[in-house]
Every structure is written in C-alpha cells, then in structure tokens.
C-alpha cells in the first residue's frame, strides 16, 4: 500500500498521537465496563461464553492500540525550563503515580483500579507527546461535524416535507454552500436531485416513506405523490 506514515524523526504526522490516545481511552473504558456489560454463565463452555468474543475484541483494541501508540514516531513537548531542571518535580511525579496506583487499588480493588491507572497514564503521556499540529488537526476533524449536520438535517426533513422537494432543496443549497454559484452548477445540482428521486423512488421503489406534508394534497394526487416522490 502506498499510504505510509512519514517517519520523520522530528515531526510526527499531525493527529496521529491524538487519534491513538482517544481510541485507546475509549477502548480502555470499554474494557473496564466488560464485567458490567457482558455475562459469564456457569456451566457453559469457555468458547461459548457470551463474554468470550467481546473480550477478544476489546482486549485486542487495547493491546494493539497501546502498541501502536508506543511505536508512533513522536517527540516530547518542550517543558518549561524549571520543570526540566527541577529534580524535586520528577520525584514528586513518581510519588504521585505510586500514591495514585496504590490508593485506587486499595479503594476499588486491584483489577478495577488497573484500567483507571492506565487511563490516567494515557492522558499524561498524551499531554507530554502532543504536538501543536495535533490541535490544528483536531479543529479540522471538528469542522466535519458541519457536513454531518447537513446530512442529519436532510434525514430529519424528508419524512416531514417529502423526498423530492427536500432532495432538490438540499442539493441546491449545499452546492451553493460549497462554493459553486454558476448557473451551470445549480442546474446540474437540480437535475441530479430529480434524477436520483426518479431512479430510486419512482423506478426502483426503494423504501422511503411518504411525507407528512403530502397528506394535505387532494385525493388522487396524494397517493400518486406518496407512491412516487
């Protein structure tokens, strides 16, 4: 495969550390919830247990993502000078970890405490290794929510207003929104929308319910619209 992570020693590729950390945190939380969310039934075979495959899945997610995180080309954040040079600070941090691990183990029991300590450790490591490009990348990820929002708005409006009108409006407005304002592009968007509705709803009769608005149409037109558009 041609897609490879660049292995520049100084500069990890943007977002990799952040993604690995977020995925690892989610996986660890899921692993911590396994006892609560799955059952271990007495008298059943080991391989037929309902917990067996979720354990493989979630366990594998934690193990392999942690290894992936470990292997990422990364560069530690440059800490302030006093932090780098103060011995007492490093001693204090080590002590903090020991106290946290022992405290949680005594409080929750060692098995329940392990994912918590691991979780805090991931957050600490992520804080240490994240790069300013990671934060810029996170903004780009967040910007996609706009398109997802458009899509969900489209989904919400179809059962209310109708597949044909919403599709035409959606493709026209979105084409306008992404920057095509010429007459040719607007016409293309309109024609495309009508074609999609005709092919899928009228010809292939795909299951898309008739809209609430169609109920107000007069007799024959109403059933025609509900069936075809």
């Amino acid at each position: 495969m041609s897609d490879e992570i660049t292995e520049h020693p100084d500069r990890p590729q943007r977002g990799q550390v952040l993604f690995a950390a977020l995925f690892l945190i989610c996986a660890t939380l899921l692993l911590a919830a396994i006892e609560d969310q799955t059952k271990w039934l007495k008298g059943k075979d080991f391989f037929a247990q309902p917990r067996f495959w979720p354990a493989i899945g979630v366990g594998g997610m934690v193990l392999f993502t942690a290894l992936h995180f470990w292997h990422l080309p990364r560069k530690p954040r440059r800490l302030p000078r006093w932090m780098r040079e103060a011995d007492w600070f490093q001693w204090a941090e080590s002590l903090f970890w020991a106290v946290l691990a022992i405290g949680l183990a005594l409080w929750l029991g060692p098995i329940a405490a392990a994912p918590m300590v691991f979780l805090v450790a991931i957050i600490r490591v992520t804080w240490l290794y994240q790069h300013w490009t990671d934060r810029r990348e996170a903004k780009i990820w967040a910007s996609v929510f706009e398109w997802a929002g458009w899509f969900l708005a489209y989904v919400l409006l179809v059962p209310l207003i109708g597949y044909l009108p919403v599709t035409i409006a959606f493709s026209l407005i979105l084409t306008w929104r992404v920057g095509y304002r010429s007459r040719l592009m607007m016409w293309s968007a309109g024609v495309f929308a009508v074609t999609v509705v005709l092919v899928f709803k009228s010809f292939l009769q795909v299951k898309i319910p008739g809209a609430a608005l169609y109920e107000y149409l007069p007799g024959a037109l109403r059933s025609f619209f509900i069936l075809n558009f």
């Binding site: 059943k44 037929a48 290894l67 990820w141 059962p159 095509y180 292939l204 795909v206």
Partner: protein, 546 residues
C-alpha cells in the same frame, strides 16, 4: 473429459438464468455504471456498492448480485483512465497503473497506454473467469470437506492476512480488526440471549448493522473528504484513433500477461490478500524478468500489462472463498455477502452442491461483463473521459444525497443515519491520517463467522489437537503459523534495517540552537583559536589599500 461434459451441461442450464431481461439490464447497468464510477477519481466501487446495497435487496438475488459484481469487475477498467491521463488513480487499485501509464501519456502515447490497459484488463478478467469456471466442479468437491473448524480457521487466516497485508500499519490494522469484532458482538447474544454492550439502550439491543457501518465508513466519509478538500485542475489530452492496437501489443507479451493473471487468480482466492499483493508480485516479477528493467516506472508497457492484468484477475477469484465457504476476503465481497443473507441464500459448501447453476450463472455474467465493458470502452472512451472534470466538492454533494438513499431505505430509521454519520466522521479521521478502515468491516463479518463456527466446532473437540486432526484443518493451521512466522521475520528484518540506517546516517543536528552552540564551542576552544590564527597568515584581513 467428464468434468468438461459436466461443465458444458452446467453452462447450458445457467445460460437460461442469464437470458432474462432484468439480468441483461443489470449487466448493462453494472458494466457501464462501474466504468463511470471507476473513471471518476474520488468515487470508488466501495462507495457505489455501499450505496446500492439496500436498493438491490428488493431485486432477485442473481439480478442484485450481477449489478454489484458488474460494478466491482468494471470499475478497474474505468479507474485506469484517469490513472493514465492525469496521474490520479480512479480507484485505489489503479495506483500502480500511474507508474507506467502516466509517463507514456507525457511521451504522447496516451492512446497506446489506454488501449494496452484495456486489453490487459480484458485478458486478466477473462483468464480468471475461465480458470474459475473450470475449477468450479473441483471446488464443488472440495468445499463439502470444510466443516465448522475449517471455516473458522479459514476466517482466522483471512483476518490475519488482512492485518499483515497493511505493512507498517499492522498494529493499528489489528486494533481496527478487533474493533470490528467487538462491534459485531454488540446486542443480544444469540445462543444465550444475554445482552452485550448495550448499555441498556433499546436501539443497541438489535446490534450495529453492517451496512450502516459500511455506508458510514466508505460513502459518507468519502463525501466528507471531498466536501472538505479543494477541486483539482484537470487538463485532458485529446485522443484520436482506435484502441485496438493494444491487443496486438499484448500478444507480444504472453508470458507476463499469463503469469500476472495467475498471480491475480491465486491471490484473489486467498481471503484477505487481494489486488495489492497480486499487483505487487506480478509487477516485481515483470521487472525482474524484463530485458529492460530500467524502463519500469518510466512508461514501460510490460509494467502496465503486469499491473492491469493482475488487478482485473482478482474480482472473479475473490468470489471463490465467498461462494464456496461464505468467507469474504475483502470489503467489497463482505458487502456482497449481505445480499446473500437478505435473500436467505447462504453461501457455503451447500451452495455449490445444490445451486451450481447459480454459481456458474454468476461466472458467466462476469465473462459477458468483461466483453461488454471492453466494447463500451472501445467506442466511448473519448466521451467518457469528460467525467474526470466533475468538480470534487460537487461530487461530495452527490455522494451525500445518494448515501441518504442507502442508509434511510434500509429501515427508515433516524438512529441508523446518526450511526452512519458517526462512522462517516470516524472514517474521515482515518482517511486524513491514512489509516486502514477495511479491517473494521472484515472484523465485523469474519468475527461473526468465527463466533458461530468456533462454538459449534468446540462442541466436538476434546483436546486442543483434535481441532486440527482433519487434513484441511491441519493445512490451514500450518498456513496460519507460516503467515505469522513470515510476518514476525519481516518485522525483525525491518527493525534491523532501521537500526542500521539510524547508525549510518547519524549526523550533527541541523537545528538553529545546535548550530549556534557548535559555533560558540569552535570560537571558544583552544583548537579553534589556533586554527583561526593559522588561517590569518594565509588570508590577511582585507583593507582598503589592498
């Protein structure tokens, strides 16, 4: 001889299946649609198949599968057009075509490159279908030997191969495969009716639908990527003349074409391997055995033949594990598996025993498809290349509109759409970082198969060795061990090489503070002072008088 007679009888029986008007229409739509989709960079067969899946559920299985198979088989033909003309692969598997195709275009040989690509694709496609039609009776004899444990081991082998095929991304690919396995376990456990990871939410108790995930990961994420990106400026060269000369040129390289097609067929049959490995192996073989290996990557016709023949030989072969064992080897066949399930046609050994007509009909459809596609391309290439000019963000809008049909028509559920949108965002993030998403889909499908098969296989196993006491199980187990051993050997060699490189190219840092600090050391040390004093005698300070 018996085999051939059997086969001819099968063909006769199956051709009646294909003579229906809806199948013919499906063939036409599949072939033309596939070429168009392939020719548009940014819309691959995965996007198209994901969107069309729910629409095919209402069709007859043979019709629905013909459309999907048509798109799968013909998209690579279309994908070679932008790969050759504008150096942008139309589908991911055409990436290797750009190596030799585009340099030929820059030399003014665009028409030659295109016609070579068409003819070698045609050869690859036909070769694989013919091989498989002749294999089908043998497969029908072998397939019943696969019991639960063999199918479990084959699925496990598939998942391991998918993971190890992602070189340098093996760890994250493994994590994603496990993510897929976990996703598949959400909902009610069928054997014990206990809830798994439902968090007491009613919408999770039915599980996460594979098609919703696929639509999110492939279609919506692609739409988001296109909407987010910029348009590319495209300059097209005008093509004149016919495209027939490629067949003549291909006939001069029968060895390369034959061996590349064989690689394609073999790699296609192994689940989880697919086009990339087949192309890589055949391209390397062609380069090593060529009289002019230095031309490869600079417009070598042999390189083009190797790449295009190998990738087109895969789709036919990829149907083998799907039909004979019910194990999909890649994302596209995994999607097709859901079409079978919807129609209650369970692919597997029984299909080969009871429904051989159906299998042969599918292969014949693939054969006819290849002929249709080449005929279409020979006539319509000049008009077809204009689709490359469709602007990217507009394509994004189109995919978003079409994705709605795919997700919403499945169950008319808003929840499905939200899940698909979430996976779309996840897929977008993965795409941004060039991480693999295919293992998620295969993890979901193969995870489900493994769960069921392991449960039924373990019921009859007393000691661990019983699991591999049958010959096919033992062979599969041996293959798993071999693949893992080879993988770890490669990891070790990579590690050694990397360490060696690190030692060889360790040089002084080029950062600005480091340069300043070296400069200061040079100025302040005794040796520095001496050196400056020495140099002063040879080049005295310039004055105005000199």
């Amino acid at each position: 001889m018996d085999l051939i007679y059997d086969f001819l009888a099968q063909v006769q029986a199956s051709s009646s299946v294909l003579a229906r008007w809806d199948v013919v229409l499906a063939l036409l739509v599949g072939s033309v649609g596939g070429v168009l989709i392939g020719a548009i960079p940014g819309v691959g067969p995965a996007v198209a198949i994901a969107i069309l899946l729910p629409a095919t559920f209402s069709m007859d299985p043979i019709v629905g599968l013909t459309v999907l198979l048509g798109i799968y088989g013909s998209s690579m033909y279309g994908g070679s057009i932008p790969a050759i003309l504008i150096n942008t692969p139309g589908t991911a598997v055409n990436a290797l075509t750009t190596y030799d195709g585009y340099p030929m275009t820059t030399r003014g040989e665009a028409r030659r490159a295109l016609s070579l690509a068409y003819s070698s694709s045609f050869f690859g496609g036909i070769f694989s279908v013919v091989c498989l039609i002749f294999f089908a009776p043998i497969l029908a004899k072998i397939a019943p030997m696969f019991g639960s444990r063999e199918i479990f081991l084959a699925a496990l082998l598939g998942i391991i191969l998918v993971v190890t095929a992602h070189r340098k991304h093996t760890l994250i690919a493994a994590a994603m495969a496990c993510f897929g396995i976990w996703l598949n376990t959400i909902g009610l456990h069928p054997a014990s009716y206990s809830k798994r990871y439902t968090f007491d939410q009613s919408w999770l108790s039915g599980g996460v639908n594979l098609i919703v995930v696929v639509l999110g990961l492939f279609a919506l994420s692609q739409a988001f990527t296109l909407l987010h990106g910029d348009d590319e400026k495209v300059r097209l060269t005008k093509l004149k003349g016919s495209f027939f000369q490629g067949f003549r040129e291909l006939a001069r390289h029968p060895r390369i074409a034959g061996i590349s097609a064989t690689f394609g067929v073999v790699m296609g049959m192994i689940p989880g391997v697919g086009e990339f490995t087949a192309q890589f192996m055949s391209y390397t073989y062609a380069q090593k055995s060529s009289k002019r290996p230095e031309d490869f990557g600079h417009g070598s016709s042999e390189g083009l033949i190797a790449a295009e023949t190998a990738n087109n030989a895969v789709p036919g072969a990829a149907m083998v594990p799907l039909l004979a064992l019910g194990i999909p080897g890649e994302a596209l066949t995994a999607m097709m598996l859901s079409v079978f399930y919807v129609h209650n046609v369970i692919p597997g050994p029984q299909l080969f025993q009871n429904d051989m007509d159906f299998v042969v009909a599918l292969y014949l459809a693939l054969l006819i498809l290849n002929v249709l596609v080449v005929a279409f391309l020979l006539v319509a290439t000049n008009q077809l290349i204009k689709v490359v000019k469709i602007p990217n963000r507009f394509l994004g809008v189109c995919i978003l509109v079409l994705s709605f049909v795919g997700v919403y028509s499945l169950r008319n559920s808003l929840t499905d759409c939200i899940i698909a949108a979430a996976f779309g965002i996840f897929g977008f993030v993965m795409k941004r970082m060039q991480l693999p998403v295919v293992p998620i889909v295969l993890g979901m499908v193969l995870g489900g198969i493994m769960e069921v098969k392991l449960r039924s296989a373990m019921a009859r196993v007393k000691t661990p060795l019983d699991f591999i006491d049958r010959p096919i199980a033992a062979i599969l187990f041996g293959m798993i061990v071999l693949v893992l051993a080879l993988h770890f050997r490669r990891v070790w060699l990579d590690y050694k090489e990397r360490k060696k490189d690190e030692w060889q190219i360790s040089h002084a840092s080029t950062s600005f503070p480091a340069i300043l600090s070296r400069r200061r050391n040079y100025i302040l040390t005794e040796r520095g002072k001496k050196l400056r004093a020495k140099r002063k005698t040879f080049s005295r300070r310039l004055t105005d008088k000199d």
